[in-house]
Symmetry: C2
Subunit: 590 residues, 2 copies
């Protein structure tokens, strides 16, 4: 087994500093939760991840999910039991409000929980991840009867839920879907095939609630003609018992590069009689509804990238400290390979990236808590906008960096990295999907550069940049000088990003009259995304080092020194890419 509850101390630190958990716990919605309780919950979650989920990670990969001839799906041995325990302990509904039967925990704390689940067993943790999104969606868009009928089942986890969007001709272009829905008495009949349905069929829960995008007969073409339907696998009787099997069939499972434990299904709706479905929300408004669950799903996928990267790093560190090979400079006896400068560089490089991203995840978690639970409407609104801005960044930059980190940590193992027994190869196979699903990273970059940058006419962006500059100033004014160089570098990077963002908005104005301008802009979408992500990481690392120096009473000297080391490394060896990217984009103006 190769699972590491990486850095409980670092998690606690992030919750206390950038996550501002104590502030969230002062909000009326969270007053029953205390810091102590939060840390106790976290400790329980660490145990669950370590003892229940992690041991199934390699096993699940080897065995995979298998489809039987009758269309049923057998998940790997142990998954169903683990799921049972997971829901019994209430992990399934961590952030769901108490009124709905959930735990009502802050999103910030849930970032820590997600990191544990996704690092321990990503293939397993995908299942509750999707159910959580469905709970949010139904709670927002379901009518009272739907909420009453269906929410309790998915909140308790007795049923799981899916998101049925993709069709063979409709991947990133969701507007191209063809699955149809026709009215039939009190319900609709759904017909069509959906692909890439995560946990579309399985044996871990008694029922599955499919959330299906389909077109009504009178639907306008494209994305504006898509409606959303509840399609249960088994119908629900009035008395709450399970009724007849709906006309929903798992036609096949994909053979994938990774996450073998999770069944990725092709689901055929209504091949025989039509699958019975119920409209959620208004007709033709399905995409808007589906996208409400996107923010938390995309944050969770970003966390998958970060968690897998963090696990790979912890494993590589452990290995490098044990593996004796070659002699360090000036030494006459063999040493552990973490004494070799190139290995040291890889480990530092990985940690700087992961630490920065972890900070960003907790920062976003905090903003989500404000957006959901703050008493001041304007504050809620601003936080919502900031979350909207940063979600594509954590999703794309978090997963791109996570993949990069896993890949370079695999290299630390030498030949053993290529051998499946070591476990690191599975992480590379698993993490690769994170850049693809929940909107490819290309789509995220387009979202950032064409929409998010323009939020409140750039006001959201500017407020965020101003906040980073403020942090840099605070560091300048602080008595310690060790952070001066990094803070100057980060300040400069923000200035560059600001300049580039100005250029982006100018290009938008011009593009109204000239398509080629928009094409030029989109060509730089990925560059802009990486630039933006690097600045966020730098900010978070500086924030951590600065906070650490103020918390020497409750954290050890070495812990704080590590925070400083990270921002120093980052500003020297990773942040220069931000300058390079901004030059690259800006020079196009000339």
């Amino acid at each position: 087994m190769t699972y590491f509850v990486t850095t409980p101390e670092h998690t606690r630190f992030l919750l206390e500093t950038v996550g501002e958990l104590s502030k969230t716990l002062e909000l009326p919605a969270h007053q029953r939760t205390t810091m102590d309780l939060s840390f106790a919950i976290l400790e329980e979650a660490e145990k669950f991840a370590t003892n229940i989920l992690a041991p199934l990670n390699v096993k699940g990969d080897k065995q995979g999910s298998q489809r039987n001839d009758n269309g049923s799906v057998k998940t790997p041995d142990g998954f169903a039991d683990a799921y049972q325990k997971f829901t019994e302990m209430g992990w399934n509904s961590a952030t769901v409000s108490g009124d709905l039967g959930g735990q009502g925990l802050p999103y910030t704390l849930n970032v820590a929980l997600q990191e544990l689940w996704q690092g321990a067993n990503m293939a397993f943790a995908l299942c509750p991840l999707l159910t959580q999104g469905a709970i949010e969606l139904l709670n927002h868009y379901g009518d009272d009867e739907q909420k009453l009928d269906y929410l309790p089942w998915i909140v308790s986890g007795q049923w799981t839920a899916t998101m049925c969007m993709t069709e063979p001709q409709a991947g990133s272009d969701v507007g191209a879907i063809r699955t149809s829905a026709t009215a039939n008495g009190d319900h609709y009949l759904i017909k069509g095939s959906k692909i890439y349905i995560t946990y579309g069929e399985h044996d871990m829960a008694e029922n599955i609630l499919h959330l299906v995008l389909a077109r009504l007969p009178d639907a306008p073409a494209g994305a504006k003609g898509i409606s959303l339907f509840i399609v249960p696998k088994f119908m629900l009787n009035k008395d709450g018992s399970l009724g007849a099997r709906n006309d929903v069939v798992c036609a096949s499972l994909e053979h994938k590069l990774g996450i073998h434990g999770s069944p990725t299904a092709t689901i055929v709706f209504g091949e025989k009689t039509g699958a019975i479905g119920y409209l959620v929300g208004e007709p033709h408004q399905g995409l808007r509804a589906m996208f409400t669950m996107m923010n938390s799903a995309r944050l969770a996928v970003g966390i998958q990238g970060i968690a897998q990267g963090a696990q790979a790093l912890a494993h590589a560190k452990y290995f490098a400290a044990e593996r004796v090979q070659g002699k360090a400079v000036g030494q006459t006896t063999p040493c552990s390979i973490d004494k070799h400068p190139d290995i040291r560089r890889v480990l530092l490089n990985s940690q700087a990236q992961i630490d920065g991203l972890r900070g960003l995840a907790f920062y976003i978690g905090r903003q989500m808590d404000i957006a959901h639970a703050h008493t001041d409407e304007r504050t809620r609104k601003n936080a919502t906008a900031l979350v909207d801005l940063l979600i594509p960044v954590i999703k794309a930059h978090g997963t791109d960096s996570g993949i990069h980190v896993v890949n370079q940590c695999l290299q630390v193992f030498g030949g053993m990295g290529f051998v499946e027994e070591t476990g690191i190869a599975q992480r590379l196979r698993d993490v690769r999907i994170t850049a693809i699903y929940e909107g490819t990273n290309g789509i995220q970059a387009n979202d950032l550069i064409t929409r998010k940058v323009l939020l409140q006419e750039g006001g959201v962006l500017h407020a965020f940049f101003a906040e980073i500059m403020e942090c840099c100033s605070a560091v300048h004014d602080a008595p310690h000088h060790v952070l001066k160089a990094p803070s100057i570098a980060i300040q400069e990077a923000v200035r560059q990003l600001d300049l580039v963002s100005l250029w982006v908005r100018k290009m938008h104005d011009k593009s109204a009259h000239d398509d080629s301008v928009l094409n030029s802009l989109l060509f730089h979408a990925a560059h802009y995304m990486e630039l933006f992500g690097l600045v966020c990481q730098g900010y978070m690392l500086l924030h951590a080092a600065h906070s650490g120096l103020q918390k020497l009473d409750s954290y050890s000297q070495s812990f704080v020194e590590e925070r400083i080391k990270m921002v120093v490394y980052f500003s020297r060896y990773l942040l220069p890419k931000a300058m390079m990217l901004s030059q690259m984009i800006i020079s196009e103006q000339e």
Copy 2:
């Protein structure tokens, strides 16, 4: 099947320009080969790769090599037949001189052949790759009797060969090996276990010649006490027939991330009676001998990275031109995804990298031909030194870039990239090993920065830089202006690399008195490697564009324009990283 004989025209172009094949064919050793014959051979090889090797690529991956209970190994269906055909056609001995029964083809042409084999079926092509190295080694270090006895079998391919270096405690640190050899009459008895032995056991040929590193009883400690032995699987009778089975056992095969078709064996020598072996060359000089085959093996591994990258790119281009999804800017109907700027960027980015690396491989091939066959000794010596300088670059930068390209091309496929049926996921799994075996890329970077930079007191480096500057000047003086900006950028990058190289040599001087200086230097090994690799790629792309403009009589306008497009893209979007890296290293001086 997803195999693409990518760019026969580009191959021909590289052979004619940077590969200077016609000049090689003027050398006495190659006078029987003509350009026409070379191209005819290439065409045959394209057919063989397409019709015989490529169809076994996915099948071999699925089936894998399997060890039977008796220790024998079954390679995937079709591999043995394909190997038979491969050797019958003489591909096994392409570069082996005619005196030894080989084809005596130039190394430059062999670069093109290797790219075909390694792109079509890397798991298969590994087998002859290793045999080729063994032929070189035996020809250099074997005594007359050994050459007479063993060379014909491996030249014809009736036997294959292995390289038995690694042991569990001796990976990158070859000096730590423990396998022992004790004299016993006319032979030695070898005892010990070797791991990661590629094609260490299989059913494709009647016999296997193991080249084994082991220690004699009186051996000095470390790398200076290692000797090299021939250890045949079946002994050779005086009459040339196969004799008794040697005490050599395949104990297990590895479960690997990729190259499933190729068996990677743990081989136990001499568990019962001691395995009979014969000393090759002088006692304790085994590593030197083994390293003579390293240059061509490392070039071949670099080509594996490039070939897999080229295949991934060709597949992604093909897919992106077919896959309709979303609307291009300003259009009202759906378009193929290669019209989307972000996909266009990925394809350009991949091609610029691959084209530059292909150029470098042919450039090195040409230098190898000079080193082996030129009539002037001084010219041979200089070419040998240049090959020594560039081998770590093509190995490490070629495979790092190849992995990067495969990874970003997989992304073009969206969800289909993660599904094994598409074929691109296998390329990612296969190519990942290239950064690890034949000396990890970390080892290559150390080799470059600690040894190769110092060759002839930096003279080799300088001559190479001067050559690039000359090419830039020639471009300046040319009547066409389209290459001015790229050539200026490349010139500047060479200047930076030159400055950094000066710093590297200074650090070496200082390090004699200060271990920490050497540690600082080694910390930058990977940065220096990437900087060096980028400059090489830029040079090759500029060379290609410049040569193309001079060859408009024999190549189409669009072909030449593509060469220009590549160097323009590269200098704008990839070369800036060279400037960033040099700044990063140089700033450490301050």
